[in-house]
């Protein structure tokens, strides 16, 4: 088992297979084009399209749990998902996450091709569609510089260690979004 106190991040290439990437790309673009009221005014400087616990993503949260469990050799419980379509000038401020995000994956779905690394504790990480970074959300500071392209779709799967100090956050029940 990975020492979770020291764990920072791992990159998993092709975390989603091609058919999953294709499905999610189309789904997210359709939802973005049709989004008339789900805008994130708290965590983004651009009010971007964002969905908390989107049902399709919740299915993937469950489906993909075992890949992360194997990678970290730890039993996980699902907490929640979130996805966002970042647009021009979106910035992700340097931050750590709340307890429900103890062990998280940020997965790249699609973009206009503009490079936009996520910084994990100061190290830039570039992802292709379908790639994921698994990271210790509460411990490692992560951020992104202002986005120069047109769009960048990213989804986040959040889990807690089923036997850890944040196990009570399973399902993210009653917690602020």
């Amino acid at each position: 088992m990975v020492d979770l106190e020291k764990f920072k991040y791992n990159i998993i290439r092709n975390f989603l297979d091609q058919s999953e990437v294709d499905l999610l790309k189309e789904y997210c673009v359709i939802k973005h084009r049709d989004n008339k009221d789900s805008f994130d005014l708290i965590q983004t400087n651009t009010g971007d399209t964002s969905f908390y616990k989107d049902p399709l993503m919740q299915i993937f949260l469950k489906k993909k749990k075992n890949i992360i469990e194997k990678n970290l050799d730890v039993k996980l419980d699902e907490t929640y998902t979130f996805w966002r379509c970042y647009t021009y000038n979106a910035t992700l401020e340097k931050h750590t996450d709340r307890p429900s995000c103890e062990l998280s994956a940020t997965i790249h779905i699609d973009s206009d091709g503009t490079k936009w690394p996520i910084f994990m504790g100061g190290e830039p990480v570039e992802l292709n569609p379908g790639d994921a970074v698994i990271y210790s959300g509460c411990n490692i500071e992560h951020w992104r510089e202002p986005f120069e392209g047109d769009y960048h779709i990213q989804t986040f799967f959040h889990y807690v260690n089923a036997n850890g100090p944040y196990a009570q956050y399973k399902g993210d029940m009653g917690k602020p979004q």
């Binding site: 008339k36 005014l41 400087n45 009010g47 971007d48 379509c85 647009t87 021009y88 206009d112």
Partner: protein, 186 residues
């Protein structure tokens, strides 16, 4: 009945950080000369540049801003309509454009309703106020005298009925650049 009761402003309708991001986006877009109704450009009547936002744009950033501002305007128009006993039958946004008034730009007195474009409500959304001139003035519909001026302020939404009772103009910008959104509602 007083005309100014139908001209309303709503303030602090969006955070300044979001407005700043939007202006940054506008600064990289290519604007065209704004036309009059019918598509004719006449810079003696309307001298400003326009960038229309379309919900079917290939640019997902444009799509985002179209719906984002639509929601902010719609939420405030609901409040505007609620003051009238029978509402004001607003059904949807006909268009949304960003306008850029540089030094020397202006718009002469006009109304927004035309039989071909049956607009019900008109909206100006102020994005900045670090410029001089460029004031919106509403006029007495009988005499053409300026009767109401509106201070610009980022996040301020100005709404009024588009009909002939509300002629208005934008005076010349004398310093800086005036960024606004304009939108008409059926």
């Amino acid at each position: 009945m007083e005309i100014n009761k139908f001209i309303k402003v709503f303030d602090d309708t969006c955070s300044l950080k979001v407005i700043a991001s939007f202006i940054k986006y506008l600064n990289k877009l290519e604007f065209d000369n704004a036309a009059l109704i019918g598509g004719i450009v006449n810079k003696k009547i309307r001298s400003t540049k326009e960038y229309p936002f379309e919900p079917n744009s290939n640019k997902l950033t444009d799509v985002h801003w179209f719906w984002f501002w639509q929601k902010i305007i719609a939420d405030n128009l609901k409040q505007y309509a609620s003051q009238f006993k029978h509402g004001c039958s607003t059904t949807g946004m006909m268009s949304l454009s960003a306008l850029k008034y540089e030094v020397g730009d202006f718009y002469t007195p006009h109304i927004d309703y035309f039989s071909k474009y049956p607009r019900n409500l008109s909206v100006i959304y102020f994005l900045n106020n670090d410029y001089e001139g460029g004031y919106v003035y509403f006029q007495n519909p009988f005499t053409g005298e300026d009767i109401i001026g509106v201070d610009p302020r980022p996040g301020r939404l100005l709404v009024w009925p588009s009909n002939f009772i509300f002629p208005h103009r934008v005076d010349k910008v004398t310093k800086g650049r005036r960024n606004v959104l304009v939108s008409w509602w059926t």
